[in-house]
Amino acid sequence: MRLSASDLALSYGDLAVAESLSIEVPDGQISAVIGPNGSGKSTLLRALSRLLKPTGGEVILDGKTISAYSTREVARRLAILPQMPLTPESITVEELVAYGRFARRRLIGAMQDDDRRAIEWALEVTATTELRDRSVEQLSGGQRQRAWIALVLAQGTDLVLLDEPTTFLDIAFQLEVLELLRRLNEREGKTIVMVLHDVNAACEYSHHLFALREGKLIAQGHPRDVLTAELIRDVFGIDAHIVAHPSSGAPMCVPIAPANGGAVDSPPIARLTV
């Protein structure tokens, strides 16, 4: 196990998001973090990738506390794609993907062969090779998301963290991105941790679920073992049927509208403004 967190206390300023959160990311698998808005999913991902310094506890990466690494060393071991990265003006897909080599390149000097190989591979595996000379600004939502994924893949790490990689995409593009992640896991052996809003997509595409509520780990394990009507009630505060996916057999959650049609009895949630 290369990445784990023990006893994390996480907060933004005075707002506590989690008090004692421990998780172990299973190697070589796809893990999905689910939970309601404000449950600390993205915050956890940011702590795991050293974007956020925990106020207590520690994140362990390859046997060492992550704060002991330099920014560059972390980037050589772990890649993170945050939500909504910014697109610089007039930059091509290939230039964007080349930025992924930052941590591997010497300070001054031209690209080496392994840089070029990594960039070609990242373009190829995300099917963006034909888009290499296109401006990122002109890409469709799905193409753009593939370009962002190519960027973090060019980093060449076995650990890849993604924060809501399918948000703002229509279902066809969602499928495209999730299939890409599955291929990366199966063929390249990447360990993937992703935050997902879509519980069904999480069950279909992950080997391991982390269900969070209010900064606490409510349940974890294989979707087939943990996704129950009780869990959905506990975590999201709604009732749902759990059915099997007609073709894959993965569990799916079908929400039931409350009988009174009124407000859902949702758990109190600390809203974040970050």
Binding site: L51, T71, R72, E89, E94, Y99, R105, R132
Partner: protein, 341 residues
Amino acid sequence: MITASAVTSSVATRKHAPPPSVRLGALALACIAVALATLGVGAVRVEQPRAIEALFGHGTIDQVRIIRDYELPRILMAFLVGTGLAVSGTVCQSVLRNPLAAPDILGVVKGAALGVVFLLLVYPTAAVSYLPLAAFVGGLFAWAVVYLCAYRRGVTTPARLVLVGVAVTALCESIIRYVLIDQSQGIGTALVWLTGSLAATDMSRVWETSLWVAVIVPLVVACASRLDVIGLGDDLAHGLGVAVERTRWFTLLLAVLLASACVAVAGSMLFVGLIAPHIARRFVGSRHAVLLPAAAAVGTLMLLVADGVGRGADPPVELPAGMVTVAIGVPYFVYVLSRPL
């Protein structure tokens, strides 16, 4: 198999256009051509090709003196100040991720003006040669105030830096106005000087400024790939291995030093730092390894043209280059922005 051209890549959407290196070369040639063309323009006109000959010491003593002592320093200064302001502006826009950012938004320019005004207030008889020093100290001081006020819990954010910068700029401006109203005598000199002009240039100023430019610009270029990555947002940049906060304060400090050094010798040529990076981006795209030199070339061109027009438009009266930059720069800038990419 990858071809070299595919790796160096082309500017977005212009697949068959010349590569950035060719475009950079063209900009550099344009700078040299304009520099030679404006040689000899001014109150005492030296016709071409006499002017170029005089540069190499051929011709009458007067011609050689005019070209070498009077025109050459101005042209060299246009290269230095144009480069300095444009590079400084590029860094500000990239690090603050704000297309309207320029050194003046960080309080540097008004801080420099305030430094000069204070010097003249305390020592009304101060020699003109002390004005650059006062401007430099004032600019740096204003920047220190901005950075410290924007700093909270170990980080700054672009938005906070810009907001505090605007506030500090306004504060400096209002103090200058107060002093002006209170005792206008003598301060007028300072304000004329600060409108921006290359007129008061001599070789010793050129050497001083070239030292700053020669040290700082290479340091900025060494940060080019960091500046590229910072454009993707703080979180992603961090994830890709850039220590964002350290890069931010270091490159902004370089930008401020550069801008202060330029404002100190040439006054506030506000517009160059703001628009040269935009025009350069249209030419070569936004990768800093090519954008920085391109912006430097565009900034130099702007100042060469402005100074040349200022000298030649209505001799012997001379229009300050700072004014001409705006008069020519604004229409051209609007034209550039109105074209599709």
